[in-house]
């Protein structure tokens, strides 16, 4: 089955109010071509589920597409805090649910296993339990130990960027896997963007690196440099120069409007041209 889609078709398939899980971590392998398209043309009112979020959360907040964020972390690592996240969090304009990395994974895993919650020690002794009403303390029915029940997280969509995909929706991840496989399994519908789409025969040569399986995938978009300005190991590193430009723009409302105008749209090729073209990116960022 051929699942190839265009970016604008992906945007059209995601309804207002959808709960969207995003793969990658912070400055690594975020599906930025899809995120930019949603930021430009998405219907909005989205709930985002991210384990380690970064530019995707910031950009969708900055373009007012988000009503709630379920997250363990939103930031730009050594490059700094997330400007729109900070602003939204400090002004209270968007709902935020405080989770941790393992509990986000446990919540997604509960959905995969079709159980309402999974137990863990994580969260005991922290204020995460005080501010996130989704979690419950409970007594182990066998031994009586106090544990935390992590409720299932059920995304409508997962957006994931992979190194390679075939048209049937198998995806190769060559660098670290983050929570992407889990997002693909837990979401009702999963869309992959891929650096390159290859034939099924070629893809299967990657063996164990075929981490995303077609039974979990509904759409495949080809987008070379599709993670830019985050990195896509082992092909290219995060574009820290653009990260700096992005952060400077996101901190200041007037330059943000300019940034949105210049870089945020649903035409990936236009974006690549706006950041200087593929040749320049190869020179600066290829590993």
């Amino acid at each position: 089955m051929n699942k190839l889609m265009r970016i604008d078709e992906v945007v059209g398939a995601i309804p207002a109010g959808a709960t969207i899980a995003v793969g990658g971590s912070s400055l690594s392998r975020k599906p930025m071509s899809l995120v930019r398209a949603l930021a430009a043309r998405g219907r909005g009112d989205f709930r985002l589920i991210v384990d380690v979020g970064g530019p995707e959360v910031d950009m969708l907040l900055g373009t007012e597409k988000v009503r709630e964020v379920i997250y363990a972390f939103v930031g730009f690592e050594i490059m700094g805090l997330s400007p729109h996240f900070r602003r939204a969090r400090e002004s209270g304009s968007v709902a935020f649910q405080e989770w941790t990395e393992f509990t986000v994974m446990a919540g997604l895993d509960a959905t995969v296993k079709r159980v309402p919650f999974l137990p863990t020690h994580v969260g005991l002794g922290t204020d995460v339990l005080a501010v996130n009403g989704a979690f419950r303390r409970f007594a182990d029915p066998f031994g009586g130990e106090t544990l935390v029940a992590v409720p299932a997280l059920a995304p409508d969509f997962a957006l994931i960027h992979v190194n390679l995909a075939d048209p049937q929706g198998n995806g190769v991840i060559l660098g670290d896997g983050h929570v992407d496989v889990l997002c693909a399994k837990a979401a009702k519908r999963t869309i992959l963007s891929a650096e390159r789409v290859v034939s099924a025969e070629e893809l299967q040569r990657y063996g164990r690196d075929v981490q995303i399986h077609r039974i979990h995938v509904d759409g495949v978009v080809e987008a070379q440099w599709g993670a830019h300005f985050t990195g896509c190991a082992p092909y290219y590193r995060a574009d820290l120069r653009h990260v700096q430009d992005y952060l400077a723009a996101a901190r200041d409302p007037s330059s943000w409007a300019e940034y949105v105008d210049r870089f945020i749209g649903d035409r990936h090729q236009d974006y690549i041209a706006a950041v200087g073209g593929a040749e320049a990116l190869i020179g600066r960022l290829e590993v």
Binding site: V74, G75, E98, T126, G175, G177, H178, A233, P234
Partner: protein, 250 residues
């Protein structure tokens, strides 16, 4: 050739590196812990097992990784696994010896805040959030924390407990929890009741100055020492690590 002396921040990395023992499995947080753990690997602990939360087991980075997704971590690593596998089947089993974390605030029980400054619902500064810190603090055998020290970073009570320290009633019953705190003024351990305790001062610091930078009456080890000076070997290793760093190419 000029050889600028280490800044205190750099010296912190040396002090923290010394706390890591050979062969230990260390889950490395971003920022200062990353520098310190990579330094230890180039000094007394070449077989230190570096684990990064993005799913990298036994990383052997040639240069200092700039982010948790830096390709330099993937190359020469024992394995890249899913984060679910790492957190479920390695971290939670107790396999990780040391959790190595930074944060915005720490209190006398070693509770660590990386979530918010000010009231949760009306924050003065919204930080990045737990990430894996709460999970690591719950599950690693012992924790090393690294923060700058002043009344802002060392309040009587943290504004938010992101990562659990020792309970008010005593040390954590599971034997885990904070073991060391490295700051730009001194080195701290935790006494038998789970209270943070001054263990060593940098050569130019005084107990009075450290107390003035702390938001509670500080416990002091019966025999506090001075932090041993940075050795030439440590100095060279740190500078080499910094110089080899890729950084953004402009």
């Amino acid at each position: 050739m000029t050889t600028p002396p280490l800044t205190r921040r750099e010296e912190m990395a040396v002090v923290a590196a010394r706390l890591l023992r050979p062969k230990e499995r260390v889950l490395v947080g971003v920022g200062m812990p990353n520098l310190a753990a990579n330094l230890a690997k180039r000094l007394h602990a070449p077989d230190l097992v570096l684990i990064y939360e993005s799913g990298i087991l036994d990383a052997n980075p040639e240069t200092l990784p700039l982010s948790i997704g830096d390709p330099v971590l993937v190359r020469d690593a024992l394995a890249t696994i899913s984060m679910l596998d790492l957190f479920s089947n390695y971290l939670q089993t107790g396999w990780v010896d040391v959790g190595f974390l930074g944060g915005a605030q720490v209190d006398r029980r070693g509770n660590l805040n990386s979530t918010v400054i000010g009231p949760y619902d009306h924050p003065a500064v919204r930080l990045a959030g737990s990430g894996g810190a709460a999970d690591i603090a719950a599950c690693a055998q012992r924790l090393i924390l690294m923060l700058p020290q002043d009344r802002r970073h060392f309040p009587a009570r943290v504004d938010f407990v992101t990562s659990p320290g020792h309970p008010a009633t005593g040390r954590r019953p599971d034997g885990r929890g904070p073991a060391w705190v490295v700051t730009d003024m001194g080195l701290y351990d935790f006494d038998s009741t789970g209270e943070m305790r001054l263990r060593a001062l940098y050569r130019d610091e005084t107990v009075e100055a450290v107390q003035a930078a702390t938001g509670w009456p500080l416990a002091i080890h019966p025999h506090p020492t001075r932090v041993p000076p940075v050795t030439p070997e440590e100095y060279r290793a740190l500078r080499a690590l910094q110089q080899a760093r890729g950084g953004p190419r402009r």
